[in-house]
Amino acid sequence: MDIIFEKVSYVYQKNTPFEHQAIQNLSFHIPSGAFVAIVGHTGSGKSTVIQHLNGLLRPTKGEVRIGEYILSSDQKIKELKQLREKVGVVFQYPEHQLFEETVVKDIAFGPQNFGVSQNEIEARTKSAFEAVGLSEELRERSPFDLSGGQMRRVAIAGILAIQPEVLVLDEPTAGLDPKGHREIMSMFKRLHRENELTTILVTHSMEDALEYADHVIILDHGTKYMEGKPEEVLIQKDKLQAVQLDVPEIIQFLFRVENIFGVKIPYQGQSIVDLASELNRLIRGDGSSE
């Protein structure tokens, strides 16, 4: 399903003294099967964008198209439930999407709601539970009697169990420990690759945007600030810093090397191992990186 934003504006609490324009004249196109990162400062409008994707919000102006579904100020989606089966959203704060009595019931809720057969529900719940690395003893626990990172994992599992065509992730790794972070991001990448799952990732991690996305959209105060390939956009230090962002750590480091040694080691997606050998040659004066 292609996702198209066409001159979209959204105003919260319109016609009240608290009226607040969160996005403004925003247009972009996410082709089916893409992995897109949306990045931007605190309050730049990322979560607002995302809430349009499953019809929680409707544009105040402009139009959002998700496959055949169209959202606009005068057009309400009749098949909202269908849309939500196709577009799974993991919200920024997991508490907002947990509500069942037990962890397994919570994960099973989505497929149940969409009329999936009992056998299939059980199979999906089991595999989603395992995919997010939850430990067995938490199965029957109330989802509110969990640590922050455990709640996050349950919220992710609940969306995986729906098996959506589009996966929308609003800072899905906030609160995960480093191992969970790595494992769960690789899982998203694998799902994206193997099932051609369209994936939209909101993140403050420039490193993740660089590593996992094939396209990045940068927002600033509700408008599109930059857009393009991560390896081209995420090296523009001055432009990024001007909007509260930064380049990924490896690129920060390469800039410093250039400053100090006067030698440019270009970023070419090298791993830390590759970078170490380039640095090693540099300090030995092999000059091969010039």
């Binding site: 605190t42 640590s147 191992k179 090693n280 540099l282």
Partner: protein, 279 residues
């Protein structure tokens, strides 16, 4: 002798009798003025420690002292005046209907005079970059804005102990740096001891000491340099080492001899430059 501000003595805790112990014989102490990071895998007991510190939970075994006073139902109100905490999910702590009221709440509770309150509210909202939102409802803010307001709330009361439980997880990269700088500044100015629970290794690197939790036990207490030298051990408990430490690791494998474990870009680059000059 250094003044101990928080002490845990053989503390064990479980949420209910029917549930497993989540803290097992935990002991440590934190000095006044110290910056301590607590790290550990999901569910290792970090937030539980934070809630025990300000008496939201009570241990079944062991003793917790704040400023030398045991935390008990009788002492807890006094103790809480000296502790400011930002929870993992700020929604759980908003009490005011506007951002400004919310920051005011802690000040009111501690009996600050009106004039001082107004000054501090203004100043701290400015410090966290939320001055344009004073009359907004805290619940209608973006994720990162909520965190900023919650942080302003503790900065305003400038307590002896500030506990941040993953309080910067939703901030943009510059915002995170700015808040860290602000915290550093406040710590220097007001002799605050600062306890930071985080998964962000860049934040951990700046701490004086790190407490590593695994499965409800303290597995290590040491300065960051020593902690990150033990890569295998950390990775076993679901953790990792920062970018610079990884790079150092690979450089060492290639036979590059670095004199100490560099922790940040500056330290590593300085060592590399020295080697380059001696080539």
């Amino acid at each position: 002798m250094e003044k101990r501000i928080v002490t845990f003595r053989n503390v064990s805790f479980r949420y209910r009798e029917s549930l497993p112990w989540v803290l097992n014989n935990v002991s440590f102490s934190i000095n006044a003025d110290e910056w301590v990071a607590i790290i550990g895998h999901n569910g290792s007991g970090k937030s539980t420690i934070a809630k025990l510190m300000n008496g939201l939970l009570t241990p079944q075994e062991g003793e917790i002292l704040v400023n030398g006073t045991p935390v008990t139902p009788e002492t807890i109100w006094e103790i809480r005046k000296n502790i400011g905490m930002v929870f993992q999910n700020p929604d759980n702590q908003f009490v005011g209907t506007t951002v400004q009221d919310d920051v005011a709440f802690g000040l009111e509770n501690r009996g600050f005079p009106r004039k001082e309150m107004v000054k501090r509210i203004k100043q701290t909202l400015l410090q966290v970059g939320m001055e344009a939102y004073t009359l907004h409802e805290p619940h209608r803010l973006s994720g990162g804005q909520k965190q900023r307001v919650a942080i302003a709330g503790v900065l305003a009361i400038a307590p002896q102990v500030i506990i941040l439980d993953e309080a910067t997880a939703m901030l943009d990269p510059r915002g995170r740096l700015e808040i860290m700088e602000t915290m550093h500044h406040v710590k220097e100015q007001h002799n605050v001891s600062f306890i930071m629970i985080t998964h962000d290794l860049k934040e951990v690197v700046r701490a004086d000491r790190v407490i590593v939790m695994s499965e409800g036990k303290v597995v290590e207490i040491a300065p960051p340099r020593d902690i990150f030298a033990k890569k295998e051990k950390l990775q076993q408990s679901g953790l990792d080492i920062p970018f610079v430490a990884k790079l150092v690791d690979e450089l060492t494998k290639l036979g590059t001899k670095l004199s100490k474990e560099p922790l940040n870009h500056d330290e590593l680059l300085e060592e590399l430059w020295t080697l380059y000059l001696k080539r």
